[in-house]
């Protein structure tokens, strides 16, 4: 799966983009976020307050219980502030 990070989520994780094999036991957005925290360091810091991170699966806003697969593009970012 392709993972993307934007704004302060990118700054905290220290990377903008990576491709990983879907971790074992992960089936939903929520599972993936929980796994992110177990990576420690900047990832743990970025997801410390889950309520401040938005998730998009294949460029659509996703709810926490949405399924994820190894073919998905999944992005993590703060609430948007354009306009």
């Amino acid at each position: 799966m392709k993972l993307l990070y934007f704004a302060w989520v990118r700054e905290k994780t220290g990377i903008g983009e990576e491709t990983i094999t879907m971790p074992e036991g992960v089936t939903t957005v929520e599972d993936l976020v929980s796994w992110m925290i177990t990576r420690g360091g900047g990832f743990e810091a970025a997801f410390a307050d889950k309520s401040t991170v938005r998730v998009a699966v294949n460029q659509e806003y996703a709810k926490i219980d949405w399924p994820v697969t190894d073919d998905d593009e999944i992005a993590f970012f703060p609430p948007v502030t354009g306009g």
Binding site: F77, V80, T81, G82, G83
Partner: protein, 153 residues
């Protein structure tokens, strides 16, 4: 229905002329231009950098325009949003809606910018005059502005 996500500036006059050119069914064209302010609260701002999510940004803007066209009888709509480093006074965004009558044009224009602010994946990083940078936080007032289109609709 036009969407442009670009680093470069735009010519408001030329864009608005082009939007309704040749369409004589249009009786009203309403536009909104968002600019970089020189202050964030009480703090002077030196510059702002807009980050976005290429691909999803365009997709979200197309969906927002489609939603406006469902709700109002529009002849044409336009959204231009810039990214990259901008300075106070620079244009950030132009939205416009054209319709046979002004009511739909005014409402659709306001709807476009309200929904864009809460749905399109852009993020602002503000730099103070002494070079400190901070990500702008989403505002409840923007959520409220977007939400009223749900309760009214």
């Amino acid at each position: 229905m036009t969407i442009k996500v670009q680093a470069e500036d735009f010519d408001v006059g030329a864009e608005l002329v082009a939007l309704t050119d040749g369409d004589h069914g249009v009786g009203g064209l309403c536009s909104f231009v968002g600019l970089v302010r020189d202050m964030a609260g009480t703090e002077p701002i030196g510059a702002m950098t807009l980050e976005h999510y290429p691909g999803m940004t365009e997709k979200a803007l197309v969906e927002i325009e489609a939603e406006a066209c469902e709700r109002w009888p529009l002849s044409s709509t336009l959204i231009i949003h810039r990214y990259g480093r901008l300075e106070p006074g620079d244009r950030i965004v132009l939205v416009a809606a054209a319709s046979a009558h002004r009511g739909a044009a005014f409402e659709a224009c306001e709807f476009l910018i309200d929904w864009l602010k809460t749905k399109a994946p852009f993020w602002k990083l503000e730099e103070t005059a002494d070079g400190e940078a901070a990500w702008v936080e989403a505002r409840d007032s923007d959520d409220d502005a977007a939400q009223r289109w749900n309760s009214n609709g």
